[in-house]
């Protein structure tokens, strides 16, 4: 079996008495979509935040591309190739959609300590950014400040920014949230193709999307992984049905 791109080992994180992450181990292999599902407050975003480096775990390790990254900053992990999207869109509100993506391209190219050349005429930034806008269908909105985009467009821009980083793994925290049935369908098709570029750890409540996309599913409840397996295994797992899926399965 191929070496995992990302491996989380016995991770723990408590907020006071609440164990938001309670001994979580999981991994992400090349070319796969690994879905992470679970009820509200199960600790999915908390786990994503620890993998991305926004939260420090109390115990456990995170390995990325064979390296222990547990002590690295968010920025250092991103530079290694870890791209995350946020459950609540987190963009640069004053910058246009295009400039949001250009900054990701700039970050990927390396040094931001370049002081004189104007970015807006830098084709090594504008061209890849325009190409990505076209891929997510936002070309017509290139010059609109992120703050003025619709909710759905901001969700698309989140993905576009992650794409521009050309990462080695995606961490997507509820990319479908609030997208509507049409938007979800389009995005599902899009993510289906994306796994070839880099594997995806996908947190999602939209079960149609999860069942259509996931190579593997892990179920998180009260900070613990209660089940992990193929879509068919998870759908038929009685404990999962009781804890989370209910009628959706």
């Amino acid at each position: 079996m191929a070496e995992p791109v990302l491996a989380v080992d016995r991770l723990e994180k408590a907020f006071g008495a609440l164990k938001a992450t309670n001994g979580v181990s999981l991994d992400l292999r090349p070319g796969e979509i690994h879905a992470l599902i679970g009820p509200n407050g199960a600790g999915k975003s908390t786990l994503i935040n620890q993998i991305a480096g926004a939260l420090a775990p109390d115990a456990g390790t995170i390995r990325f591309l064979g390296r222990d990254v547990t002590a690295l900053s968010t920025a250092a992990r991103a530079r290694l190739g870890l791209a995350r999207t946020f459950q609540v869109s987190s963009l640069l509100p004053d910058f246009s959609a295009l400039r949001n993506i250009m900054l990701a391209a700039q970050a990927r190219q390396g040094s931001s300590l370049r002081f004189l050349r104007p970015v807006l005429s830098d084709r090594t930034l504008t061209e890849p950014a325009m190409a990505i806008l076209a891929r997510v269908g936002l070309t017509a909105r290139a010059d609109v400040p992120a703050a003025e985009l619709s909710h759905g467009e901001r969700r698309q821009l989140e993905i576009a920014v992650a794409l521009a980083m050309q990462p080695k793994a995606f961490l997507l925290d509820e990319p479908m949230a609030g997208m509507g049935p049409e938007g979800s369908k389009t995005l599902t098709a899009f993510l289906d193709g994306l796994r070839q570029e880099a594997p995806i750890l996908l947190v999602e409540h939209d079960m149609d999307a999860v069942f259509a996309l996931a190579d593997r599913v892990s179920v998180l409840v009260y900070g613990q992984v209660i089940a992990s397996g193929s879509v068919a295994e998870i759908r038929s797992d009685p404990e999962v049905r009781r804890a989370y899926l209910g009628d959706a399965a």
């Binding site: 480096g53 926004a54 968010t74 910058f95 250009m102 900054l103 002081f115």
Partner: protein, 324 residues
């Protein structure tokens, strides 16, 4: 930049030398000095505008750099005047290019540790720590009798710049204005550059910037140091303009004044510091002639700016900023 902002910027840039020239032709030396004061304060505020306007870093300690620049000029000139060597066998000097260089480098060197410490915090703590550092330097200057202590330090002869008769008010104005133009050009390039994009991103959403792989801390540190260097240059010119430097240049009043200039003019806008400095000096001069309490009225204007015109004077003239 929108065409309207470009027009407003060029108009402001034309107005100041036009006023100074008119004063020269009318023989009103005082007004040339006033125009020079505007240009120097604007230069100091251009420096702060890098940190505060682009980076959103509310430094309440930029008087430290303004004052250090001033003391660099004062101390070097005094030692040259008395023909006393400085420490480490260095001689004093009355050459403005040399003094400016010392002022800029000194401020960069001092800003580095201050930034390293203060940029670990944010919000109110950042404001307080920058204030604390500046006050430390202020009290040091007050208790340093060799260079005037509380009374300050006079510069007997205006320092020299090759090819410029600095003693003539209009020549000195032209020199200061040229440096202001250079700083504005630098600010403009900086804002449009990769560094500027990262810096403005660190203001808008540091979490996003880090998630892209750019450390907000290092970007802010570089911005803080650059910002201090520009303000330090202005401090050296301010000392030369007044032929005097005192601890008041280092005091928290001065830090507050610089923040007021930037916010009044429009933070993050190219011509904001110039607009702010012009308005401030006009207020000081016109209202200050009528009433001791001119700062009360300045306070009212500031309230109006904060509540009615977030973008400051430039915002009123040129509308909201455009980020391309």
């Amino acid at each position: 930049m929108s065409p309207r902002e470009k027009a407003a910027t060029l108009a402001l840039l034309a107005l100041l030398p036009a006023a100074a020239l008119a004063a020269l032709l009318l023989g009103e030396t005082f007004y040339i000095t006033l125009a020079t004061r505007i240009a120097v304060l604007a230069l100091a505020a251009v420096g702060l505008n890098i940190a505060l306007g682009l980076g959103g870093l509310v430094s309440f300690g930029h008087a430290a750099f303004f004052g250090l620049g001033g003391y660099a000029a004062g101390v070097l000139a005094t030692n040259a005047f008395n023909a006393e060597p400085l420490a480490f066998g260095l001689a004093g000097t009355t050459s403005m290019p040399a003094i400016s260089l010392v002022a800029v480098l000194l401020c960069g060197l001092v800003a580095l540790p201050i930034g390293l410490v203060s940029l670990r915090t944010s919000g109110v703590y950042f404001i307080m720590i920058t204030l604390a550092f500046a006050q430390m330097i202020y009290y040091f200057a007050i208790s340093w009798p060799a260079y005037g202590g509380e009374d300050g330090l006079s510069i007997y002869v205006r320092n020299a710049f090759p090819g410029v008769e600095t003693a003539k008010p209009f020549s000195f104005f032209v020199l200061v204005f040229a440096l202001l133009l250079a700083a504005l050009a630098l600010f403009h390039r900086l804002q449009a550059s990769r560094f500027g994009a990262a810096l403005e991103a660190s203001r808008q959403n540091p979490v996003r910037l880090a998630a892209l792989g750019i450390s907000p801390f290092s970007i802010r540190l570089v911005a803080f140091v650059l910002s201090a260097m520009v303000t330090g240059l202005a401090g050296a010119l301010f000392a030369d303009l007044n032929r005097f430097v005192s601890p008041s240049m280092l005091s928290w009043h001065m830090s507050g004044e610089l923040i007021v200039l930037v916010i009044l003019g429009g933070k993050g806008r190219l011509a904001g510091p110039l607009a702010g400095a012009a308005l401030y000096v006009a207020f000081e001069h016109v209202l200050g002639g009528l009433t001791e309490r001119w700062q009360f009225f300045l306070g009212l204007v500031l309230l109006a700016v904060v509540f009615l015109a977030r973008g400051g004077l430039i915002g009123l003239l040129a509308g909201r900023p455009r980020h391309g």
